[in-house]
């Protein structure tokens, strides 16, 4: 064996072949019976994107109502229903399951596996999610929930919210919770057991690191919320008094339980986004990721601290000063690993050869937006300042900077980055860039002034504000911005639909990327890979290109810090 000259060894190339089975039944039924992680991933991505659009329409209705002072377009009842639906949809039916969708499709491909560890459990995850969403939205035909996405007790108790919408909300939390929980166990088992030969923990792609931690946080946080909503369910329907102060129950207990889940949930939503960015930046800067270990370690540190900051949502409740101080300091602490990530991303761009493709632009937009959300987070962590800012539009602006930046912009980056892999076709670059600019400008126009509205005394969740309160201009700017943002999102929707049939053929590796999902055809065959390569670094595709170059003598584009545009 050792005598074989390297030049005579077979040249590695993209080798994966679709073996067509005889169709025994109609093709559309495959979508209902499939256990293929890629099909399930597509189901997840399409379903959650549909929920994203529904949640977006709800947001536009909210902004329409607030577009004028003392507006009577929407009744207070419907307004409360709208923001409850909007918040719940975006969190439980869009961001968390969208990240699960990406993980479903790309996690096995990135680690060189042929499917998830438990394919049938994987299908169960998706169908539980879909039915959770259907149950929740069918409350539209009766009475939707109206106690806000965190459903504070006693308002969400039967006495004050007798409608079944609240129970539909509880059912949604149960179904999507079980969906995420079994999904998380599946991701964890897959990552731990099914990595390609040679892929040690130090060579795991950063997106996979993020999904590993996402799964652990879900396993930690979801049982708590499952217990809490079950207690609410029995309070509402079976006469228990867990949260009923008139019978010795505690409304504050709900807040502790909810936020013990709720704050890790924030990191559940944005850590996978961080992972997507950590994958995309090096590809388009044509540089290795700066500080791989620091980024992976900061993900772990963030997850640990995420479980210790929940009461910063409760600074205005009766809590002793020592507790206030603890949660301020722990919230400060979480800014350090987050800052480390941002510095490493900027350092990854530094001295790069940055190719401005749509996925990269969304990543840069994400960083610039998320920095603002991180900084305003520090304001809110300083608890005396929080006493002025909490429950106002300042907080609304803060978490939209965090979640629109950390989740929506990173999801769009991921969609544009992986669209060619999923469909085999490239998206339109001009349309993608136009979409980005409308979204970026619209987002900032919508949410930047909301800081000012909050500082001027506008509480969140009010359906009206008086004409003489100095809030009219802020709200009108915000409403205009929301429609610009909506138009930007619409452009991307058009882009995705149009490119599905008309986009340029992508080929296996259009971006000359670093990870193994690009080592197969686009879209990949059911089996994913014919041969799973041995992994020698964090950037296995770069190694493969180098090896091809060495053995064939033909220069492979994209190996030496050159963007695809110039090859």
């Amino acid at each position: 064996m050792a005598t074989t000259a390297p030049a005579l060894r077979p040249v590695p190339q993209v080798i994966a072949h679709e073996v067509k089975a005889e169709p025994t039944r109609a093709r559309w039924t495959e979508w209902f019976t499939t256990t293929d992680h890629k099909k399930i991933g597509i189901l997840y991505i399409v379903t959650t994107f549909a929920f994203f659009l529904i949640g977006g329409v709800e947001a536009l209705l909210i902004r329409l109502q607030l577009g004028a002072p003392n507006n009577n377009l929407i009744t207070p009842e419907h307004y409360n229903e709208l923001f409850t639906l909007h918040g719940t949809t975006m969190i439980f039916l869009f961001v968390v399951p969208m990240m699960a969708g990406f993980a479903n499709y790309f996690l096995p491909l990135m680690i060189g596996a042929r499917d998830m560890a438990f394919p049938r459990l994987n299908a169960l995850s998706y169908w539980l999610l879909l039915f959770g969403g259907i149950v929740f939205y069918s409350s539209l035909f009766w009475q939707p929930p109206e106690a806000g996405w965190f459903s504070y007790t006693p308002l969400s108790e039967h006495t004050f919210t007798p409608s079944g919408g609240q129970d539909a909300w509880i059912y949604l939390i149960h179904l999507t919770g079980i969906s995420s929980l079994v999904g998380a166990i599946n991701f964890y088992a897959t990552i731990v057991n099914m990595r390609a030969p040679g892929m040690g923990w130090g060579r795991l792609p950063l997106f996979v690191w993020a999904i590993l931690i996402y799964a652990l946080l879900l396993i930690l946080a979801l049982p708590v919320i499952a217990g809490a909503v079950t207690m609410l369910l029995t309070d509402r329907n079976f006469g228990t008094h867990f949260f009923d102060p008139t019978q010795g129950g505690s409304p504050l207990l709900w807040q502790h339980l909810f936020w013990f889940f709720g704050h890790p949930e924030v990191y559940i939503m944005i850590l996978p986004g961080f992972g997507i960015v950590s994958e995309i930046l090096p590809v388009f800067a044509r540089k290795p990721i700066f500080g791989y270990k620091a980024i992976a370690a900061s993900t772990v540190v963030i997850a640990f601290l995420a479980a210790l900051v929940w009461a910063h949502h409760m600074f205005q409740t009766p809590v002793p000063t020592v507790v206030l101080g603890f949660f301020m300091l722990s919230s400060f602490l979480i800014a350090v690993p987050t800052g480390v990530k941002i510095f490493n991303w900027i350092a990854t761009l530094w001295r790069g050869n940055i190719d401005f493709k749509t996925p990269l632009i969304f990543c840069v937009g994400f960083i610039s937006i998320f920095v603002v959300g991180g900084i305003t987070g520090i304001f809110l962590a300083v608890f005396p300042v929080d006493w002025q800012l909490t429950d106002t539009y300042f907080v609304v602006a803060h978490f939209h900077y965090v979640l629109m930046g950390g989740a929506v912009f990173t999801i769009f980056a991921g969609l544009y980055y992986w669209y060619p892999k999923i469909t085999g076709r490239l998206c339109s670059e001009p349309l993608g860039k136009a979409s980005f600019w409308f979204m970026f400008v619209g987002f900032n126009v919508t949410f930047l002034v909301q800081h000012a509205a909050g500082l001027s005394g506008m509480p969140r969740r009010v359906y009206q504000y008086p004409a003489n309160a100095g809030l009219t201009v802020y709200n009108q700017i915000s409403t205009v911005g929301a429609f610009i943002l909506g138009f930007g999102i619409l452009l991307s929707v058009i882009n995705f639909i149009r490119s599905y049939k008309r986009g340029a053929i992508a080929g296996p590796d259009p971006w000359k990327a670093n990870t193994l999902e690009w080592f197969t055809t686009s879209p990949p065959p059911v089996i994913n890979f014919d041969v799973i390569p041995r992994v020698r670094s964090v950037e296995p595709m770069k190694d493969i290109r180098r090896q091809v170059e060495r053995q064939s003598g033909i220069e492979q584009p994209g190996t030496v810090g050159q963007p695809v545009t110039f090859v």
């Binding site: 290795p288 620091a294 205005q316 400060f332 350090v336 050869n353 304001f379 300042v385 429950d391 050159q562």
Partner: protein, 295 residues
Amino acid sequence: MSRIRAALRPESSLRRRLVAALLLATIGSLVFASGAFAGFATPESGGSPNADQIHSLYKIVLYIAIVVFVVVEGALLYSVVRFRAKRGRVAAQIHGNTRLEITWTVGAALILVVLAAVTFAKLGSIQNPPNSDATGLQFASTTEPTPPNGKKLTICVTGRQYIWRYTYGANCKSNAFGLPYSYQEMVVPANTTVVLDLQSTDVIHSWWIPKLGGKFDAIPGYHNYTWFKAPHAGALYRGQCAELCGRNHADMTARVRIVTPDQYLTWIADQKARIAAANRQVIQLRRQLTAYGTL
């Protein structure tokens, strides 16, 4: 240090100067704009020392935030402009720099240590009520929290869907019977330390008059406290419930009218008389209804 600089050194200086100028302009405009911040970039204040202290603490955080914002966004903007794709350029194949990692981790931590120190230094003046001024009213009372000399005006603020009720007097927490009360508009004497005991009878509400300090939740089954000391007699401060409390959450407004101590004593006496008169009317009506056999 020189290794860090070497790792970060860009190759040419022409565009560097351009970007540096852009960066300076950004910092300059931000510093210039800081004068105009007062209106929309800081929380409301001016009605009470705790609101003023929160305002000044907020400004310290804001200035640190502006510096962090300009440095981070500047570095991001610089790198995307300066290092955009060029034919013939080869991206530097750097994998990381441990010293740089340690530097920015410690740097970020230091900023937060400073912020924590400033917050704890300011906390006392925000959290603890001071004595009433000599010109204010001096009521004796023992409910928590209490100014150093133990004298303050206690008002029990009770939230319910969708109105605030104020009960005036030291024992409002233990026995509100017979004490004067009012709805929606609170009347308080100037220069007097007013301690509020926040309660709720149904769902969670949140007491917030922006110019008089931070917000605190009124939670059924709990007592929460805050205080203010308003210097300007004649002022009227507005606020509204800040925690979602149901469909008419937006209509649950509150007003605080500051009057002179003398006016306050007169108002309390009048209010007591008005309540007594109203009670007498109710008694009379009840008698009539009973006589007619309606009750």
